[in-house]
Point group: D2
């Protein structure tokens, strides 16, 4: 199962008047880390969107715990992996490390999303294509596995 | 119990290539809404920080559900309130409305935080002063209530 | 000639570890103020883009002078107006006031831009439609004026 | 004379609904590139601020020309160098390359800034210490050069 590691240099502009990372910036980091995870799986966002006719993989749910602050000048490492594949959505798990300290942990639920054919202003979920899931060397969703096509 | 409503105009720069709000921007909105809630309680951040010797009210946990997307040019309304007071932390609840549709819901846990006297690089929680809690016309933490000073 | 005034509340997250506005945020403010100026002229971005088949009004040149810092909790006022119409581009002038003090001044040159018909990945300037310019109650570009169709 | 090169991966969240970099993000890039230039000179921001008692090196003037757009997924390279040292300020020059194409060019004027001793709310320029200038292997300001200590 694919796991990606990305080093992030905390910048001055990532930090707030308390001198520590302004927390919405962590979600920017994690969004970039999800993109980097897909790129590591051979799925750079720009090409993936064009080839599969999706608008992206928007988030529908996220949860984060901030355990230790970071400040500008520090390097942190984010480990990212897919935690679960569902029919038209999937989970991503990020752990941000400051040395050996788990500083932030984040869970994302994202949707494989396209514009509705009947109303292009509407965005709707689509089944995640099996070839996408396969790129992560990952278990398929339960239903697929029972059909004997799982890894 | 104080509830604050803040109208937010979604800007072009809040949106991503899918044309909808880039989700970390929602956390910026909610952070601003927490500040607006405190300001509505008579506690503008700048003065509160100076008077109480804190560095701010950093987040330690957050959870958000994104139910409907928004795009630039739209006005949304965020309703914010304190969901719970604990000893040195408290919960904030935000609901972002697009007309009658609940579009995003977010829960934050924040800490009343100061620099450690022994090591200014270290940030630590401090008991939320009762006069702060009182400003929200709110129930005190359980221990305080048992002492008969609750609302 | 249309001039728009927009009040901006400086937020905690707009500021850096020095406690003052992180300067790229000023460009976000000014971008929003240009959108507000167009909206005041009856041209909200979303509708303008759809009706005129443009991708937006991207910036090709900007210059800013930062004369006095601002910090979170302060309200500033930005005065915005079109400084010049050219064939496919135009100038916008922003002045950010802190009370009576001119705190930031910014000049933008923007282009009326569309995707190239032959290559949709390519963005190209298009002549600004006269009905757009008219909405600002403004002089047309010099060449047009000489043709006697100016205001 | 020190020149620093920094590769930047354009992220989804750096881009706007037109699918190209939202221009204020370029100023974030350039701010990070100035920090990287100083770090390359042996002056990481956090340590520099602490050692020299400054609040940072805020911008007082900037000019940028946007010659070609970039989109998410692209890698660009920024070349940064000090263009001039003045008494308490200095110029930084950034050129952002997309392959062989100069895509953005930016000039910054920054100040060596500290809190006023008499009024800590006030920020004021201080003479740039000669040992800072020396780190860039650079010509001193004109006055210093005339005293025969120039490179």
């Amino acid at each position: 199962m694919l796991k990606n590691r990305k080093t992030i240099h905390i910048e001055w502009g990532d930090c707030d008047p308390a001198g520590i990372v302004y927390f919405p910036c962590y979600f920017v980091f994690f969004d970039n880390c999800t993109a980097a995870l897909f790129e590591a799986a051979g799925l750079p966002t720009y090409e993936m969107i064009k080839q599969h006719g999706i608008i992206g993989i928007p988030i529908v749910d996220t949860r984060a715990r901030f355990l230790a602050p970071s400040r500008f000048g520090e390097d942190v490492v984010v480990e990212s992996s897919i935690s679960e594949w569902r029919r038209s959505s999937f989970g991503v798990h990020h752990r941000l490390w400051k040395g050996d300290t788990l500083a932030v942990e984040c869970f994302e639920t994202r949707v494989w999303a396209a514009r509705s054919a009947s109303n292009p202003e509407r965005i709707e979920g689509r089944p995640v294509p099996p070839e996408i899931i396969r790129k992560f060397g990952d278990r398929r969703p339960a239903r697929t596995k029972r059909q004997g096509r799982g890894k």
